[in-house]
């Protein structure tokens, strides 16, 4: 039994001692997470992994990277433990600290490039710029699966795809998993179908 298990067991015992009946790991996890809302995100992730059942998503995010126009589209699959945390609430921070952190990182790279430093891509570290915001940001309430997928788009798809792109291609979509082709012979040539945009233009 590790430290996280001991914490959960202690919380179950405390809830039972307080008069609760049929206390589950999930109950203990939710109770513990409320107490640990100001702790590091990683600690909440460890507790959530132990207390919440993983949830397999019925959605995928498909996107093309305008910085790599010759590359095939990418398909983002939510992690089942992450999705469970999103649906249960009390674990993940608001999306804005993640976006702020990405902007901070990108600005740092741009500044280094403008200063003429070569090979800067491996040198960024948070402790040099005052730390990342997301690890100690306050956790948010439960999301629906659709809200979680939108959150994941903003977190894990590059900013220049979902926020800063100004072209006229449809370069990202949130789709049911059934819409992703199962035949992968030509996987390295996949692109997002522009059918809807063409219809819109011709109409």
């Amino acid at each position: 039994m590790d430290g996280i298990d001991q914490l959960i067991t202690a919380e179950i015992n405390a809830l039972v001692a307080g008069g609760r009946e049929d206390v589950t790991k999930r109950d203990a996890g939710k109770s513990l997470l409320k107490k640990l809302k100001n702790e590091h995100l990683f600690l909440r992730i460890l507790i959530a992994k132990k207390c919440f059942e993983p949830v397999v998503s019925k959605y995928r995010i498909v996107y093309e990277d305008p910085a790599d126009p010759d590359e095939p589209c990418r398909i983002v699959a939510p992690d089942p433990n992450w999705l469970a945390s999103a649906l249960e609430g009390g674990v993940l921070p608001d999306i804005q600290p993640y976006i702020d952190d990405k902007d901070t990182e990108r600005n740092w790279y741009q500044e280094m490039a403008e200063l003429g430093f070569a090979n800067v891509n491996t040198n960024f570290f948070w402790s040099a710029v005052g730390g990342a915001k997301h690890p100690y940001a306050e956790p948010i309430d439960p999301m629906t699966e659709e809200e979680a997928i939108e959150y994941l788009l903003m977190k894990d798809v590059p900013l220049h795809v979902w926020r800063d792109y100004e072209g006229n291609r449809e370069i990202f979509k949130m789709v049911p998993v059934e819409m992703v082709p199962k035949e992968t012979t030509f996987r390295d040539a996949w692109q997002i179908k522009q059918e809807n945009i063409d219809e819109h233009i011709t109409n």
Binding site: A10, I45, N81, S127
Partner: protein, 118 residues
């Protein structure tokens, strides 16, 4: 008592901003290679990015302090296959599976990360 164990193990280092959690893996993933690749088991991963044949990206839920972290990878089959990583950032990294005769290929893989959290 249990709380003491946790707080002894996980703490914010006041002299810097990174998270000191000694002796444990900061992220891992067991990736299946079904018709659409998916994560079977994991820790601290928010999503799997299917980049193309034999190419997978992993994004962290809680980011790393810098890109100088260790990645350990293994693959399930093929004596000639090797697992390599590239494009490490504080937010995640990409892994590729190479077959010595046919180039990149899809196969189940496991991967884990050691280093300091942001």
């Amino acid at each position: 008592m249990a709380r003491t164990v946790i707080m002894d193990t996980i703490k914010k280092d006041e002299s810097a901003t990174e998270m000191s959690v000694d002796g444990i893996v900061k992220a891992f993933a067991v990736i299946d290679n079904g018709t659409t690749p998916s994560i079977e088991k994991s820790l601290n991963i928010s999503s799997l990015n299917d980049i193309g044949i034999g190419q997978r990206g992993l994004n962290f839920t809680s980011g790393m302090n810098d890109a100088s972290y260790g990645v350990v990878g293994a693959i399930e089959s093929g004596a000639d296959d090797i697992h390599v990583y590239r494009n490490k950032t504080v937010n995640g990294y990409e892994a590729r599976i190479y077959d010595s005769s046919s180039g990149v290929e899809d196969t189940p893989m496991t991967t884990s990360v050691l280093g300091d959290l942001a």
